[in-house]
């Protein structure tokens, strides 16, 4: 599970009962559809053929990338190559925690050279995961451009990184947790703050 979903271990700020829904299942579906449209508009405004590859950051980014690819396919009829990129081996905080488990990496067979790579993640927090993913990407090839799509931007960036596509901006306290639930992992769709 991506750590940035969780806030810093706080004393009291978010009580156990204080859970607030940010996106319902229907909101989440609409948001994914909107971001899919934005990706198309930005990369193929006149139906041109910019080669787009979606790469999800495990765990939930992988499934969000698949959903986005599905929506883009429904809208344009094009098949968007989709894969998953585990940035763990490139993190700058490995020595600060017990050893992390690794996740899957699967780069589409077409490769990323000269493609527009859209990194997809559930929550954008410190930006350190994205920084690690950018470094990992560099070792896999040289994309024409890299863009970032996130379901929730919760602020508190520690690096000069911003998202190109944001499902929802949510001002948060550092001690709060943004919990993204997806059917594929959690049995239901939704986003809540606690």
């Amino acid at each position: 599970m991506p750590s940035r979903r969780r806030g810093e271990p706080g004393s009291d700020a978010a009580g156990a009962e204080g859970e607030r829904e940010l996106l319902s299942a229907a909101d989440l579906a609409r948001t994914v559809a909107r971001v899919a449209h934005e990706i198309i508009e930005r990369n193929a405004p006149d139906g041109a053929t910019a080669r787009v590859v979606l790469l999800g950051l495990p765990t939930r980014g992988t499934f969000l990338a698949r959903r986005l690819a599905e929506r883009i396919g429904e809208i344009t009829g094009a098949t968007v190559p989709t894969g998953t990129l585990d940035p763990t081996l490139y993190r700058d905080d490995l020595r600060l925690r017990p050893t992390r488990a690794l996740a899957e990496t699967e780069i589409p067979a077409v490769g990323i050279d000269d493609a527009v790579v859209v990194l997809v993640d559930d929550v954008l927090f410190s930006g350190r995961t994205v920084r690690a993913a950018l470094d990992a990407l560099r070792d896999h090839g040289r994309p024409r451009a890299v863009q970032l799509a996130v379901l929730v931007d919760r602020g508190h960036r520690e690096l000069p990184i911003r998202a190109d596509y944001v499902g929802k901006n949510v001002p948060t306290n550092r001690t709060e947790d943004v919990a993204v639930r997806l059917v594929e992992v959690d049995g239901e769709d939704g986003v809540s703050l606690r």
Partner: protein
């Protein structure tokens, strides 16, 4: 293990890797999963270099000859950007009479984070780990320790070999749990057999050791295995994998069997014997193989032999071991 943040996993609590006996199932599975992910992370790349162990130093200290183990530890370290240094006993101060303890302390004092040890004496890596655990290392801070990996000690254990064998079985058979593995040959002198017997049992496989009575170690009755002296009977039972072991002539001082020819006839994996195996069965050999003795050349080169897969898996497994020992915060 520290349980600070359960959402990111708590590590697997590995401080040294000295034996597979005592390795917990979840630790073994985590190492195999990590090895598989390492392979994925490097697949199809032009740059086979990960920054994960930048600034860490891995020293291989080998008192016995080795090709594949030493090279694969070195490659594993280099692919994760660790600095790797090879020390062989013949080319070091060991040949001037320096003791094992002094050599280990010297290497630790010189800034080693991980010491990979091969030694002809069973238990040598355990001794080194215990010595180094009881002294502070200035380059590692108050909490730090030098991680020790057993790369083969006498006739005792060779844990990374067993892990790479399990990784190979998992890739070839799709599973280890429930698989029937026959381990054939010189069990007495084989650290590979002992490490495999424990690891495979931990992972839920059924293990049958096949050897002449003279080549079984004392205490084998206490291992989690079945024992047979009849290779043909075991092959007829349809094992999922057969692991052939080298007859270790260099450790034999006495008559363990009448002649090499008789050994080959009774315990060698000939083409005819291999043909009787189920279609899916895999043939493993930890290498170096003595063709015509324990394994026929045609079998070693056949598609059921996974000998080169084992070497490749060895690099990924050793990357996984170094990752779990060195990448995270120190394991108390």
């Amino acid at each position: 293990m520290t349980g600070t943040d359960t959402s990111t996993g708590t590590g697997i609590g590995l401080r040294h890797l000295l034996s597979t006996d005592g390795l917990r199932r979840e630790q073994a599975v985590a190492l195999l999963d990590t090895a598989a992910n390492m392979e994925q992370a490097l697949t199809g790349r032009t740059v086979r270099k990960l920054p994960t162990l930048r600034g860490r130093t891995v020293v291989t200290l080998f008192y016995e000859n080795s090709t594949r183990t030493r090279v694969s530890f070195e490659v594993a370290g280099k692919w994760m950007s660790a600095d790797t240094i090879n020390v062989s006993a013949s080319a070091s101060s060991v040949s001037k009479g320096e003791s094992l303890r002094d050599t280990a302390s010297t290497l630790a004092a010189a800034g080693t984070d991980c010491l990979v040890v091969r030694h002809p004496a069973s238990g040598a890596p355990h001794r080194i780990a215990a010595w180094l655990d009881h002294v502070a290392h200035s380059h590692l801070g108050a909490e730090g320790h030098v991680a020790v990996v057993n790369a083969g000690d006498g006739t005792h254990e060779h844990p990374t070999q067993a892990l790479l064998d399990a990784a190979t079985l998992r890739a070839r058979l799709g599973r280890v749990e429930g698989a029937h593995v026959a381990v054939v040959g010189d069990i007495l002198h084989s650290r590979v057999a002992r490490s495999n017997a424990h690891l495979l049992a931990t992972l839920g496989a059924r293990v049958t050791l096949v050897a002449p009575p003279t080549l079984l170690p004392v205490g084998v009755a206490g291992w989690p295995v079945e024992i047979s002296h009849d290779l043909d009977a075991v092959l007829t039972s349809g094992p999922d994998a057969v692991m052939m072991l080298r007859v270790q002539a260099e450790r034999m001082h006495g008559g363990f069997f009448p002649s090499a020819r008789e050994y080959a006839i009774r315990f060698g994996l000939s083409e005819a014997r291999a043909d009787r195996l189920p279609d899916h069965a895999v043939v493993l050999h930890p290498g170096p193989a003595v063709r015509g003795m324990e394994i026929a050349s045609a079998v070693a080169d056949s598609s059921r032999a996974a000998i080169s897969d084992q070497v490749t898996a060895g690099v990924h497994v050793r990357m996984a071991v170094l990752y779990h020992l060195l990448a995270g915060e120190d394991v108390a």
